[in-house]
């Protein structure tokens, strides 16, 4: 059963998150200049990757939905977008915290942070349109289109922001991290991605359940009418 597998997945994700916390706070050394705030780095980077994974998953599923009309693809797209937005929000909160400590200001023109903000805005809009539009075919298509437009926009935003701000001297560099930090980063990455996968799968399951409720509801209406069908055959002349 899917639910069993998913439970194990959830257990695994919890353990991974716990060990990641252990690795980040217990194993990796406290960075000299940044102090404890540097710990943000491990989860910040992996959450950013998870967020983009969610957005790209959403875009891929949306293209498939538009081409094939498969409702399951729409459910996957929605899950990718919603979980992606969740991780993206964390990135946008942890980013300024980092910036405050590292550069003494909450917001900088750091290119990757600006790119993430644009992506977040587009997918926040996606989620809002979903909830305003309700469960209709128009909404599904609108959102699929938004996801495609949004993801197509990402390389352009990246390029423009890099060119505009790329020569900025205060770009975050990952070079020069110690081996312990690298181990901690790997564990954090694994933890965030197992959490991400669990959440996406859970959201997909909820979505599939919603689809099933809708189908059963229609079937119930249709069945009720079937009983009447037998009584009215005499008037159906043209077979």
């Amino acid at each position: 059963m899917m639910s069993d597998k998913l439970s194990w997945m959830a257990v695994f994700a919890s353990l991974a998150v716990l060990s990641a916390l252990g690795a980040v706070f217990g194993y990796a050394p406290v960075e000299a200049s940044m102090g404890i705030v540097q710990k943000i780095f491990y989860f910040h980077v992996s959450s950013a990757l998870a967020a983009y994974t969610g957005f790209f998953l959403c875009c891929g599923a949306s293209i498939y939905y538009l081409l094939k009309g498969d409702r399951r693809a729409d459910v996957v797209a929605r899950a990718g977008a919603e979980v992606g937005v969740l991780f993206c929000t964390f990135v946008l909160i942890s980013g300024p915290l980092w910036a405050r400590k590292a550069w003494g200001t909450w917001w900088t023109g750091e290119p990757r942070l600006m790119l993430t903000m644009v992506a977040a805005l587009i997918f926040y809009a996606y989620v809002v349109v979903r909830s305003i539009g309700g469960r209709t075919e128009i909404t599904r298509r609108i959102c699929a289109a938004l996801a495609i437009l949004g993801v197509a926009d990402i390389p352009l935003v990246h390029f423009a922001v890099q060119k505009w701000r790329g020569n900025h001297p205060r770009v975050l560099r990952n070079g020069g991290i110690s081996d312990e930090m690298e181990v901690a980063l790997t564990v954090a990455m694994l933890a965030v991605f197992s959490l991400f996968t669990t959440l996406v799968l859970l959201r997909i399951r909820v979505g599939m359940a919603e689809e099933k409720v809708e189908r059963l509801h229609r079937l119930a209406t249709a069945r009720g009418n079937d009983i009447e069908d037998r009584r009215r055959s005499p008037l159906l002349e043209n077979p």
Partner: protein
């Protein structure tokens, strides 16, 4: 009594639809008048907000010009299908072979034309208020504005079609349009800044052109798909 149809070319269909919209606009003048008024109000807000009295006012002018363009674009674009939707005229157009593609290009051309008209006025107003002589710096500013306006309209026209039947459309169109157009705003403003400084703005222009191409292509594809459902008239209840 069958009448032979000579399937018209795409260009002819686009022209017919564009002509129709222009004729209606000339008759009512609604969109042009309100958009011009809006841009005048916007520029006066810039003045009252103190932008024009700052030291490096002319450095900030291109950014404001682009912001104003984006606002006006929203105003123009959200009304794209208002008239056609009123009595379901879109549905009649969708039954015609090739007309949905023609409709996209006609609406894009129409919106671009209106936006350009308003941008000319904006250019003069902002130039006057911030004492910037745009044309002293070559045609880079105007060129970027023209090209960028096309991109704004390409995305905007697509969104207008997608969101035509949506509740709260007036809010959602800008909420989606602005983030999508961030590359345009950056490139457009930077192209103008570079031109004013006397640097080359070619790389920024290329970025704008790339944006235009990408979104005209995607827009054309998604537009058809969106109207397929939204124009069905029946809507999709529940």
């Amino acid at each position: 009594m069958s009448v032979p149809h000579r399937t018209p070319t795409l260009l002819r269909q686009v022209w017919l639809l564009l002509q129709k919209d222009l004729r209606v606009e000339m008759r009512t003048g609604e969109v042009v008048a309100t958009s011009l008024l809006f841009s005048a109000v916007l520029v006066s807000l810039f003045v009252f907000a103190g932008f024009s009295t700052r030291k490096a006012a002319s450095e900030g002018a291109p950014g404001l010009l682009w912001m104003a363009s984006a606002f006006v674009a929203v105003l123009v674009v959200t009304r794209t299908f208002e008239r056609e939707r009123e009595d379901g005229a879109v549905t009649a157009l969708l039954l015609i072979p090739g007309a949905s593609t023609a409709l996209f290009f006609a609406k894009l051309a129409y919106n671009w034309l209106l936006l350009t008209l308003v941008q000319v006025v904006l250019l003069l107003l902002v130039g006057g208020v911030f004492s910037v002589d745009w044309f002293a710096h070559g045609f880079a500013v105007a060129g970027a504005l023209l090209l960028g306006g096309f991109g704004l309209c390409a995305v905007g026209t697509t969104l207008a079609a997608l969101l035509a039947a949506m509740r709260l459309r007036e809010v959602i169109v800008p909420v989606v349009l602005f983030p999508l157009c961030v590359p345009l705003l950056i490139s457009g403003a930077q192209a103008s800044v570079a031109a004013i400084r006397g640097d080359s703005s070619a790389a920024w222009m290329v970025t704008i052109a790339l944006f235009d191409l990408l979104f005209v292509g995607l827009g054309q594809w998604l537009f058809g798909l969106a109207l397929e459902v939204a124009g069905g008239g029946e809507g999709d209840s529940e």
